[in-house]
């Protein structure tokens, strides 16, 4: 078929691959975004939640009479009341690895973590709502605490969920070959107990939602700061027992998600129930305190791992056990398995690992539920495998880059099936590391390090190479056993009678620039200028069936669907144009805004004329051709595609204060064919910033009573612009052989590579002291203890 752009003297420039400025930014930068809190329908009520001050306690009684008596308070909702209007959430799984447990929208019978929603108030404004919350009297009977994941596994431990009969909600094992024999005969075995502490995403926009129930038509509209409006719509249908077409979920502009907004939340259900009950719109906007208490946390794992190598530094086996503190509830739809299973699945990294046994456990405790956060499982997995590789390199006297080059899956090995069953289509492990070495002038930096060490300075270089699975299709679900369709997305592309294009997607952009990248793809495929393309997303009433944006999938899946739908529209345009010009469609070539007969530029027809003919002129259409100019296509990439990178960090640890300065940071990433390198750079920058936070600064801290100590942004320390180093980002473009367009997902990579690269750099800086970095974040306090204690 004719390439709609690349032919002819007046051809449109190809947009895929160009550094197109983000089309959504003028809207955001001038305060014209449309976030949940920007909407104030008439008769709006404001919600506030009473949250549990106790980590584990039986609810004896709730008395809301004083709250209801307060002027301006309209209604209160408790666990028992909401149980009559909504089913409890049960994150189902078809695998026996997961014990399914209930997650009531408001605590029912007992509370399981500090911050759990116990009751909801609807009032004339948020101030009154919070006053009313204070007046609800709850009698709690404290229950034995469960805050340590390893002690929660002991037989005598009290239970978070009695229905499960255990706190072990997830247990799974992956194995290949005889790892015990391999490790027994290995020349070198390195082992470590790694600890990756609890983190959370911190979106600029806190979570919020606004529900409106139209009593006349019986329709429910929920505006939510969600990444996955399709998933929320589907589950509300079931929970609220309403037909799907009567529920509309809108996630218009969303101020960051990072995975933390990819799950269903209790507040969304409660807000819908309250709005339906009152027949008035109800809005809840979470504040920062609620965000830290009740938005899902992440990671929080202990990983015991052993790596065996032969004399030449080739891996012979990897044996590991992951224990994750999954908190109080199994979140919908991903279940409690998402973090621990992902970690153990990705542990072998980009290496040839001939024997493997990975066990993983997800343990319930009385803390905020664990959910997805940028990288899901892979930041800890990469921290572990890359930490082991460095330990092995030190033991064998090899340079860290050399040991990696000896073990990478080689170009001739693709497609390569990992020990956990993931298929790597094709990636550039060796090339990315070599390019990173070259771009950094690695040998020169090592020489500089030697001089610095001689002068008594603690300078270190850290390497991390990783591979992740993106654009996941239906063959390997995003979350194994979870009965939702994560493997497909659709696009509807409609050319209106004026020749302008509207493209509608089931994915939902929350900062990734999808309104730009998807428009680039659509403009290229249809053959129109980008100014003529409008992208709509995040609205279940407008879009074809879809779930949303998560797991580095949207550009691959929605982009693939855009290519298919765009081509279908294009084909029809050629048919109509051929008819109008009395020419063979195969002889038509594009010029700016028109199609012309090859070699006869005067015989042409504009896109607008083609579009008008498609809608209005029966006689202008070939006989039997259906009027209209639009197409909907679904795309399923089936297996998904690898995305990889090498990160290099140079750090200096202040010998006196133990402060870590990141002196250089370099990324060589490969996300296949790039749609927009500007946006790829931005995604790397943001991802690395969050990875740096995970490595050096951020930590959710609970005390032994299950009280959250890091409950403000003074205590949960996210990096500011001053802490984020300049980054050198380089690109390799290995088009994916298995996705339409050759795209690979890349939204999470920065966060996956950075913790390991920085941890390894700090460890390298401290190597002369004989200490290792096995715990992240590696704060000044932890470094102080490491260097005071010595090896």
């Amino acid at each position: 078929m004719t390439d709609p752009r690349s032919v002819g003297p007046a051809a449109l420039p190809r947009l895929v691959g160009a550094r197109v400025a983000r089309r959504e930014d003028p809207r955001f930068l001038t305060g014209q975004g449309s976030y949940v809190d920007d909407h104030r329908p008439a008769r709006l009520l404001y919600a506030a939640f009473l949250r549990s001050p106790q980590a584990h306690a039986r609810i004896v009684a709730i008395d809301a009479s004083a709250a209801l008596a307060l002027p301006g308070v309209t209604a209160v909702l408790t666990g028992e009341e909401i149980a009559r209007a909504s089913k409890p959430v049960r994150a189902a799984s078809k695998t026996p690895a997961v014990k399914v447990t209930s997650f009531p929208p408001l605590a029912l019978g007992k509370v399981r973590h500090v911050g759990e929603a116990v009751a909801m108030i609807a009032a004339e404004n948020r101030y009154v709502a919070e006053d009313a919350v204070e007046r609800i009297v709850v009698e709690y009977e404290p229950l034995p605490l469960i805050t340590d994941m390893e002690r929660a596994l002991e037989a005598a431990s009290p239970l978070v969920h009695e229905e499960a009969g255990t706190n072990l909600l997830v247990a799974r094992e992956f194995a290949r070959g005889d790892v015990d024999a391999a490790l027994a005969s290995a020349a070198v075995v390195v082992r470590e107990r790694f600890r990756f502490h609890r983190h959370t995403a911190i979106c600029m926009e806190n979570r919020g939602c606004l529900a409106e129930y139209a009593t006349g038509s019986g329709t429910l509209t929920l505006r939510s700061s969600a990444q996955c409006p399709g998933i929320v719509r589907d589950v509300l249908t079931d929970l609220l027992d309403m037909p799907e077409h009567q529920i509309r979920v809108i996630a218009e502009d969303v101020g960051g998600g990072f995975g933390a907004k990819a799950s269903l939340y209790p507040e969304e259900i409660a807000t819908c129930v309250m709005a339906r009950r009152l027949g008035r719109p109800v809005k809840w906007i979470g504040d920062r305190r609620e965000d830290l208490l009740a938005t899902t946390h992440a990671w929080d794992e202990i990983i015991d791992a052993e790596l065996g190598l032969d004399r030449d530094g080739a891996i012979v086996g990897l044996r590991a056990q992951v224990t994750a503190d999954i908190g109080a509830y199994s979140i919908y739809p991903w279940t409690a398995a998402i973090e621990p299973v992902q970690t153990i699945s990705f542990l072998p990294g980009p290496y040839r690992v001939p024997t493997y046994r990975g066990r993983t456990r997800g343990v319930a405790t009385c803390k905020t539920p664990l959910g997805p956060y940028r990288g899901v499982g892979r930041p800890p997995a990469v921290f572990v495998i890359e930490g082991l590789m460095d330990r092995a390199a030190r033991r064998l006297g090899l340079d860290p880059t050399e040991i990696r080059l000896r073990n990478f899956i080689r170009d001739e090995d693709f497609p390569y099936k990992s020990p956990s069953g993931i298929v790597w289509d094709r990636a550039s492990f060796t090339a990315s590391l070599l390019r990173a070495r070259e771009a950094m002038d690695y040998d020169a930096v090592r020489a500089e390090q030697a001089r610095a060490r001689a002068a008594g300075r603690w300078l270190g270089i850290g390497v991390a190479s990783y591979v992740e699975l993106t654009g996941i299709g239906s063959a390997i679900p995003v979350a194994p056993g979870v009965p939702i369709a994560t493997g497909t997305e659709a696009a509807t592309i409609r050319v209106d009678p004026a020749g302008k294009v509207t493209a509608v997607f089931g994915v939902a952009s929350h900062g990734q620039g999808l309104e730009t990248t998807l428009a680039q793809i659509v403009a290229d495929e249809v053959g129109v200028p980008i100014e003529d393309v409008r992208v709509l997303h995040g609205d279940t009433a407008l879009s074809p069936y879809g779930t949303g944006t998560y797991a580095s999938r949207s550009l691959v899946l929605a982009g693939g669907a855009a290519i298919m739908a765009g081509r279908a529209v294009r084909e029809k345009m050629l048919t109509i144009a051929g008819h109008l010009l009395e020419a063979d469609p195969a002889d038509l070539v594009p010029a700016a805004g028109r199609l012309a007969v090859r070699g006869m530029p005067d015989r042409s027809v504009t896109v607008r004329e083609i579009a008008r003919a498609a809608y209005t002129g029966v006689k202008q259409l070939p006989k039997g051709l259906e009027p209209g100019l639009e197409a909907t296509r679904f795309y399923d990439p089936y297996y998904g595609t690898a995305s990889n990178a090498t990160h290099l960090a140079v750090v200096e640890v202040d010998r006196a204060t133990c402060h870590v300065s990141v002196l250089r940071y370099l990324v060589v990433e490969d996300c296949g064919r790039m749609v927009n390198p500007l946006i790829v750079d931005g995604q790397v920058h943001g991802g690395v910033a969050q990875g740096l936070g995970a490595a050096l600064l951020e930590e959710i801290v609970y005390d032994e009573h299950g009280q959250l100590l890091s409950g403000t942004l003074m205590d949960y320390v996210v990096p500011s612009a001053c802490e984020v180093p300049w980054m050198e980002v380089h690109h390799l473009e290995t088009p994916s052989p298995v996705t339409l367009g050759g795209f690979r997902g890349m939204g999470e990579g920065g966060t996956i590579g950075a913790p390991a690269a920085i941890a390894n750099a700090v460890a390298d800086a401290l190597a002369p002291l004989g200490v290792e970095v096995a715990e992240l974040p590696v704060t000044p306090e932890r470094i102080f203890r490491l260097v005071s204690r010595g090896p």
């Binding site: 101030y127 919070e130 204070e134 204060t657 003074m714 500011s720 802490e723 000044p780 306090e781």
Partner: protein, 288 residues
């Protein structure tokens, strides 16, 4: 995070403000720049019946030099102090400390009186007040009194000011010409409160130390004046050994608490490290 209901007053004079405080009998809070009080209200940790806002009292914002001291009105913004020629010339330590206070939007609203009256021991201004042996003026129903730095801070967020008093003025002796000074601070993130901060002033006469002044931020419930460390320098001079000894002494003089950012041991260690760094830098810029 919405405050409970409170009444709001914006008096035009200090007398009006005092009358309002009297009317609420200790149940009103004075609002200065609001950079600490507003979060406390929003968290419902402070629940005053009323706020008495000092922002409409022009007479409380000034910087004046006379008789070898600098008087700063309590409502003088940190941003004003940062760029004041008088402060640059007479109180260069205060200027340097101001650069460590929060971020630009915070300094634009935040005031010197508010920071000192709030008495966060991790803040910079209480340390500077302590190091420079300054004093504050408090006005109450019964008139005016002057409180020395050493008598002002009681414990975390607590001063000897009474609920019916308003801190109206901060008085700092002008630093000696040629005095060396430095404020060293360690925080986890730029603009955060100090994990440890050290304010140092050194007046030298060759290798001899005429006066040394050292005070901490973040090393306990109040700013700590490190007098015994100062004495080592005043006795033994400004050589490397004396600096080392003073820094070591500093670690013995503090009794910091542990929190989720830093243990007491680490804070004590940092007290020594930063005392040394502050002294080295202060001595480096001292003339005489």
């Amino acid at each position: 995070m919405k405050p409970p209901k409170f009444e709001y007053h914006a008096p035009r004079t200090v007398d009006e403000a005092l009358a309002l405080l009297g009317r609420y009998g200790g149940d009103a809070k004075v609002l200065a720049g609001g950079q600490s009080l507003m979060p406390l209200l929003n968290f419902r940790l402070a629940r005053p019946a009323a706020l008495v806002d000092l922002n409409r009292i022009p007479s409380l914002a000034f910087i004046e030099e006379s008789g070898g001291r600098v008087r700063l009105g309590a409502m003088t913004r940190q941003r004003t102090i940062e760029f004041s020629p008088v402060v640059a010339q007479r109180l260069p330590l205060l200027k340097e400390a101001t650069r460590w206070v929060g971020h630009l939007p915070i300094r634009t609203r935040g005031t010197i009186g508010g920071s000192i009256a709030h008495a966060d021991p991790s803040a910079e201004y209480p340390a500077v007040l302590t190091a420079l042996e300054g004093e504050v003026v408090a006005r109450g129903a019964k008139g005016e009194r002057v409180i020395k730095a050493a008598d002002l801070f009681q414990t975390y967020l607590t001063t000897t000011l009474t609920p019916d008093e308003i801190l109206t003025e901060v008085r700092l002796p002008a630093m000696a010409a040629g005095a060396g000074y430095a404020l060293e601070e360690f925080s986890r993130r730029h603009g955060d409160f100090a994990i440890i901060g050290i304010a140092a002033v050194v007046v030298r006469d060759g290798q001899r130390c005429k006066t040394a002044r050292l005070a901490t931020a973040g090393a306990g419930p109040v700013p700590v004046r490190l007098r015994a460390a100062e004495e080592i320098l005043e006795r033994d001079g400004l050589g490397e050994a004396a600096i080392e000894a003073a820094a070591r002494k500093a670690t013995e003089l503090v009794d910091p608490d542990s929190d989720i950012h830093a243990s007491a041991d680490y804070r004590r260690h940092l007290t020594g490290v930063l005392t040394k760094r502050a002294l080295v830098r202060a001595i480096g810029v001292a003339r005489g």
